[in-house]
Structure formats: C-alpha cells, structure tokens
Symmetry: none
Subunit: 205 residues, 4 copies
DNA sequence: CATGAATGAGGGTTCATTCAT
DNA sequence: AATGAATGAACCCTCATTCAT
C-alpha cells in the first residue's frame, strides 16, 4: 500500500464529496455518537458505498477530526463577527440568544454534536489536541473582541480578561448543552435573565 | 437455576456485589466511554467473571442506567445540603467552587462521567428519562434552597425562580464540563470572577 | 481491553482446542496459503465459531507462528532420532526417503506447509525470526548427529561440518519441496540415486 | 470503446506497457507476495492508473501467470546456455554457483519470486500447469545438456538420466531457496563442498 | 489510451450475550 | 453463586474490478 493522495482528480468535486461525507457523518454522530455510528451508517446516509468513503478520509477518526475542525471554523467566524459590531456586549448577548435558539438541523455547530466532541475528547488524544487548539484560537479571537468592547466602553475595563473568557466560555458551553438536552426549557425567560446577568456584570456602571 | 433471580439469595451480599460492578463500570466508562468499555473490561475490573455480571444486571445498558441513577442521587444530596446552610448564596458559591476542584477520582459525581451521560442521553431514551427525572428533582430541591435564601435575605426576591434555576443549572453544568475538559485552567481566577458575578447578580443591593 | 490469558480454565481441554485450531489452520493454509485462508475458513474447518478462535490465539499471525513452532518441534525430534541409530548415515538416508514418501496428510511437517512458511518468512519478520531460530536449533542438533556419525566411522571425518549441514539442509529442502510440487516423480529411481550420492559422498572410503 | 482489445493499437508500445506492468508486479510480488501486493501497489509502481492495467491484463491472476511464464523463459535460457559449454559438468557447477550468488535485484529469476511461485502452484491450477510445463521443457533441455556431457566424457555414462535430472533439479531448487532465505550463509564453503559432491558423483572415475 | 471515482464483497477482529458446568 | 467457553453479528477497513469521462 503506497500513501495515495485522497481525492485528487477534480478538487472541486472531491471537496464537495468530502463535505457530503461530513454532513452525513455529522447527522449519524449526533444520533448515535462517534462509536455508535458505523461507517456503514455514514455511507448509507452520504449516499455512497462504504469503501468509497476511504477515498476521502483515511479513517473513521479522520472524519471525527474533520468535524471538530469544521466546528472550530464555524465558531471562530461567529466570534470574528463580534468584533465588527458597534456594541460588542450587545452582540455577545445576541449571539448567546442565537446559540439557544439554533436547532440541531444546522449542521455546523450543532450542540449535540459539540457534546459528542467533548465526550470523545476525554478519551481520544487526537480529538483532545484538536479541541485544545480550537480553544486557543477561539480564546485569542474572543480576547480581541472583548478588548474592542472595552475600547468601545461597552465592557468593564477592570476585568481580568483571561479568567473572564474562561468563565464566559463555560457559561456559553453550559447554555448550549442545556439547550441540546432540554429542548422544552422556557428559553425566553432564561434569556431575559441571562441578558440581565451579562449587562449587570459586564456593562460599566 | 431459578428463572431470572438477579441476585436474590443473600440480599446484603448481592447488593454489595452490584455496587462492586457499578464501581468498576464507573471507572471503565470514565476511561473509555459507555460504548468503549467492554463487558470484559468491566468484569476484569470488578474482579468477577463476565458471565456473572449478568446475574446482577440484565445487560450492559442496565449498568449504564444504574450508573446514571447513582449519579443523580449524588447530585441530589449535594443540593439538599444547600438548604441547611445559613447563607444559601454563599453555600451556592462554595458548591460551585467544589465542582471545579473535584477530581475525577471521586466516583459518584465525576465530570467526565457526567459528560458521558449527557452525550448518551441524546440517544438512549432511558438515560434521557433518568436525566429528566434527575433534573426535576434537582429543580425542586434547588427551588426550595433558593426560596430559603430569599427568606434569609441572601438572594434577591424579584427573580423569576424557574428561569433562574435553569440559568444557574446551565452555568453549573458549563463549569463542571469545562473543569473536566480543561484541567489546566486558572481555577482561582475564574472562581473569583464567578463569585463576583453571583454576588452582583443575586445578592440584594 | 485488558490483556487476558488465553484459554485458562481447563488446561488440558484448552490445549486440545488449540491443537484443533492448529490442525484446521494447517489444512487451510496448505490449501490456500496464509493470506488466502480466512479466519472464517479456519473456524469452519476447526468446527468452532470464528470469534472463539480468538480465545486461543491472539491473532491470525499467532496461529502462523504456532504452526512454524510445531513444525520445528517435529523436525527436531526427527533429527534427535538420528543420533540414536547405529549407522547415522544409513539413518539419514532412510530419513530422506521418508521425507519423500510422506504424504500431505501428516500434518506436522507437511512439505506444502513448509513451502508456505518459507514464502511467508521472506516478508513476515516474525516468521523469519522464528525460522532463523528453528534453523539454529536444527543445525545444532544436526551437527551433533553428524559428529556421532563421524565417531561411528559412518561419515567422513575431513568434512567441514558447518558447510556440510548447509548443503545437506538445502538438498533436503529441495527434495521435500520437489516432492510436494511433483507428486508424479519416479521416487524410487530418484531415491536410489540419492542414496548412491550420499554414500559416495559421505561414507569413508 | 471496442470490445476487449487488450492493447491492440500500437503493438510495440502495448508490449512495452505490458512489460512495464510485469516489472512493477515482479517487484511488488517479491516484496509482499502474490496475495499481499494489491493492484493499487502494482499500478503505483508501474506509473499508471489502476484501471488502465486492465487494458493489458484481464485480472490480477493473469499478471501472476505472466510473471510465472517470464520466469520460466528465463530459467530455460539459462539451461540452453549449458549445452554450448565445452565441459558441461563444469558449467553445471558454475551455474549452481551463480544461483547462489544472484541477488534479489535481478528481476527475472529471483529466488524469492520463485518461492512465491512454488507456493502459489499448489493452489492455482494455471500456475501449477505452467510450472509443470516449465519443468518439462527444462527437463528436456537438461537431458540434452547431460547427454552432451556424457559424450564429452565429463559425466558418468551409467546414470539413469531421468532420475538424475530429478535429483539435480531438486538440489538446485534447494540451493536457490536456501539462498533466498538465508542470505548470511557461508556461500563459499558450501559451494566448495557442492562442487566436490558433483565432481565425485558425476565425473567418471 | 488513460484516468480515478465508485462499488461491494470479504478480510480480520471485537464483543455483548448465553449456557453448560 | 460463579465460571469462562462459545456464539454470531457487527465493526472498520481493503481491494479486485468496473465504468463514465
């Protein structure tokens, strides 16, 4: 077996096919978990043969990793958008609201999938590394966004940014996961309170 | 053999044996996940033969469910303790701190296991139901604790308790999970900030 | 997965089962080659389920190795017998004759299987190592046998024993393989000649 | 597409392409065995696409057979050379020496490949037939060479030529295989002995 | 002539579960 | 109560082969 490049011929088509696999895998993983979803499930959902998936991904694990990567890109672009808003705090709050409204159908940063990723990372070193890398990137971008907010005067200056990011990230993760697991929560009430909390905590007096 | 005794002979001994299996399963699940840990792994760690586990549990899923059940009880007792504290808000904050300090070694209420449970709940209806039940009990207990806090004057009166509980639960889950996944976080800084947040948000002016 | 001892309960029964697998594997390998025989083939021939074979052998490769080992033991005992004969050269010649008369049914040192082993050894390092080990042991034993022959006066003294062993081993291998591949050879004529050759070459004048 | 042309357009170019495939296949087979080398390996080494190989060969087995055929031709031409030597016995001995010196790099007549062929022949009837055919041709040619040797007076007259050929062929095969499997043998010592053996056995007194 | 995408059967292996002892 | 031998389905992955381009 000689290391062959995966999907070389027509790059555009190959990439479309890769996305097709990732979409299918995302759905399967969400339903059954990484271990629970079989390559056969994925291939059926992707509408191609099992063997053919291996033209695009070396491994089942390579698919998992690509999904984590894709999620990272999606979240990163969300954060990047924050920076361009006139009131970062306000945008942050809106972002959080969207996190909780978003439904599993949106493939890219699906809460249930994120949960799966989190769980997998505690035992798969490669996924763990990817997640750490994801976190570093997101943290940097987030930090910039908060700094912009401080310059705007929409976020308190005295805060220790590093810890603030940890805390906010934890809260966001918590909201996302809760949203995934308890779809029947009174989102509006909760969001109203959350808005209040952020305003009272981050907005300068 | 009598039809499906499932450990009837000496009730005390049988229960000890069951706990033995659950302890072993907890460790295995934490390390490898529900799907990743094999019955053989569990039996080896429990120090009994694979076949014998089936005297105490109908199948692997029953073990998973018993683990979830046990975790539920553990969290519930944590909350019940809240009510007995003179300053509920203060105790809440302490509780959060403990959540973040607790190490994977404590079997009952392990973050990594919780993550596993969360992920499993989105595909295993029994686990999902148990989680919902856990949540209902937890919510009731939590509500009482918060009400006591309001009577104590340690928590603002005007808050919508239901949504507050949702929000707090989400935040706690987020902290627990972050703790599990990022063991190298600056916990102290984050806790200081979190304390500040809760105080500013919940303590009456 | 914890490293479990393979087949522990009743050692005698377990060993019988192992032999059963080896016998079946020998037949399958002879018919289809190491790569060509599937675990499913072997299990069918051994009269047990595919999965159960893994209770006795870690791998398909472990089966191959056990077969090589078994062949080594068989050949070794053949050589050991030589030493106990009054006329070693005569016994050697008789042994060669038997090599060429023996039919594939005798499992232990089946020529076709030996051929398979040889071929496998040129690409499987573990088998190659085993074969080297086999050769060292056989060479030592063979050397002793020839030395005894020299003391008996049945084998010329001046020969360089090391090279003589190489040459004889090559010739024996050639005969065995030829026997396996050309079952229609005139064995008697060939053996008569071979006897003559050995006598004229090894017997002191 | 015209039905099953199998390389008809430019015969010379087509044949060159076929040889290209056979060269590549030879290398792959030697490294990994017939079953172990994949069509993908062969195509990569031949520098053409997997699918295109099927323009020149009906399937993988056809490649195997062509390789065996090519090897047969190579051995045959070796023997034909014998006849043109003034002292056939001497040339025979030289030939044997070359057998043992030849390194795996020479594609056509590689010991490791021969071993592979031998092993394959016991299960692939086509290969077996080719091997038998090779043997018949070889035997005829060999017989002529030996007869010439007898006329020259370099080989004893009384020998039963048929059996002698069988024996010599077996010995040669044995030497070749031993050379392939034990590259660290003391070749010189062994050859000296072999020379002695042939001289003493075949040279008229 | 030439490609490589695509298939699907089959490979070795694992594992939840059952059952005779 | 307790064992571990035994099963068979399912897993991930490979590969000879075909076919549209």
């Amino acid at each position: 077996m000689v290391g062959k490049a995966l999907g070389k011929g027509n790059p555009a088509r190959a990439d479309a096919r890769r996305q097709q696999v990732l979409d299918a895998a995302g759905q399967c993983f969400r339903r059954a978990g990484f271990r629970g979803a079989s390559m056969s499930d994925i291939s059926a959902m992707a509408g191609m043969s099992t063997g053919h998936i291996y033209h695009y991904f070396k491994n089942k694990e390579a698919i998992v990793e690509a999904i984590v990567e894709r999620n990272k890109d999606s979240v990163l672009s969300d954060i990047e958008q924050l920076k361009r808003q006139p009131d970062v705090l306000q945008a942050l709050i809106e972002g959080a609201s969207q996190c909780m409204v978003r439904r599993p159908q949106d493939d890219l940063d699906d809460p249930a999938l994120l949960l799966e990723i989190f769980a997998e990372s505690s035992r798969n070193p490669v996924v763990a590394a990817l997640l750490r890398q994801r976190d570093a990137i997101l943290r940097e971008s987030f930090q910039e966004a908060l700094a912009i907010g401080q310059q705007q005067g929409s976020i308190v200056r005295e805060a220790d940014l590093n810890s603030l990011i940890d805390l906010l990230a934890a809260i966001f993760d918590g909201l996302i996961i809760r949203n995934a697991l308890h779809p029947d929560t009174d989102r509006d009430g909760m969001l109203r309170l959350f808005r209040l909390l952020l305003e009272r905590f981050l907005r300068p007096a």
